[in-house]
Symmetry: C2
Subunit: 228 residues, 2 copies
């Protein structure tokens, strides 16, 4: 084994935004709106997956989407065109994340009172979005098999804060070395209760199960209001 | 076309580190060491590509590698094991980038005076690393065809600051919709002089051409010293 030295350089640039995130979450709970935050690296298939999930749910539920991007409006337009629902693009001015304050501003602009489900499509990035609680009820991460099965070792925070991990592009498994057993072990080492769905946004495989999970979560948000 | 609204939220968190970057670059030029900064999203194949390139160059040149990661030392170990050269892991404490000050600290720790080529493997991220000039002579970006051909539209800064773009995983082209003509148009719209190499780190296709480009750049750095 050849020589490897390790040095450590640190800096603190992370905003404390937990109070605003809790306020966002309380607002959405009060409305009976399930608020999901979708995160992933660039090109993992978030937009395609979201459009496919929305098309499975839009007859039954009132759904909204907010897409975060640095500059383009491609994602919001793609979701809107593919699903017919109202999608809002949030330009974050070149940042690698969206924080709870920006999310609160976007929630006000969008107007979320009449929704059963609001989806935030975060910026494609495996580092920054994990650091800022947006106030979503659940974090959902997409992990593409083309990225390799070592990603939980390298980007542990995002896998730790994600309640659900969708392992995408399984239609291309023949072309890539991706060990599902190792992947699951590495996920569970960070967070034993992660819900894992293997999917292909391209072929639709596995997406019904994800849609069923979302239905269940919407029920969970609404149940206390109904009972009260 | 369905409705899309755009709002803009901004924040300034970017450090001004151009002075330190220029000092890093001057130091490396003075040493006759070509300093390359490799950037990409997570899982685009940087480590595998670097190992393959180093193995093509290590008989002729003295090469060093510094790998940036949040927590793990996987990349440095992988490069060291695959090539036998000295690789240093830099832990950046959870940040999404490495800036010029951190780079300067790493250069001092590593000791770069006797190198012909020093490679910085940046953290897997398409946003933050592009914002901080490290002092490298050239920025080299890896873009995997599995990420889709729209990435320059969504992460324009990284493609703008990259002198060279390696389009990786072309061995999997049959499985993914990736339009090389569109990709090149989108690259050239951001930066007309980008040098583009289609490669497969897995099969080795295209890597000799990249190694030749690096040889040429090393010659360029050394030429003024030789002439003087």
């Amino acid at each position: 084994m050849s020589e490897v030295r390790v040095i450590k350089v640190e800096e603190n640039v992370f905003a404390q935004n937990d109070i605003q995130a809790a306020a966002n979450r309380a607002r959405m709970t009060g409305n009976g709106t399930l608020f999901l935050n979708f995160m992933s690296g660039p090109g993992a298939g978030k937009t395609t997956t979201l459009a496919a999930l929305i098309n499975r749910l839009k007859e039954e539920f009132r759904i909204g989407v907010m897409d975060v991007d640095i500059r383009s409006s491609l994602d919001a337009q793609k979701v809107a065109d593919a699903t017919g629902i109202r999608a809002m693009q949030i330009h974050n001015g070149g940042l690698c994340h969206i924080d709870a304050d920006m999310t609160a501003q976007a929630l006000r602009e969008y107007g979320t009172d009449d929704l059963d489900l609001l989806i935030l499509e975060n910026i494609g990035n495996m580092v920054c979005p994990a650091e800022f609680d947006t106030g979503a009820h659940k974090n959902v991460m997409l992990w593409s098999i083309t990225e390799g099965d070592d990603k939980p070792l390298k980007y542990p925070l995002m896998f730790t804060v994600s309640d659900v991990v969708l392992i995408n592009k399984i239609d291309a498994l023949d072309y890539f070395d991706f060990d599902f057993e190792k992947a699951e072990q590495r996920l569970r080492a960070l967070r034993p209760d992660t819900v894992i769905f293997p999917i292909s946004a391209k072929t639709g495989e596995g997406l019904d199960a994800v849609a069923d999970w979302i239905k269940g979560e919407i029920g969970g948000i609404k149940a206390p209001l109904t009972d009260g």
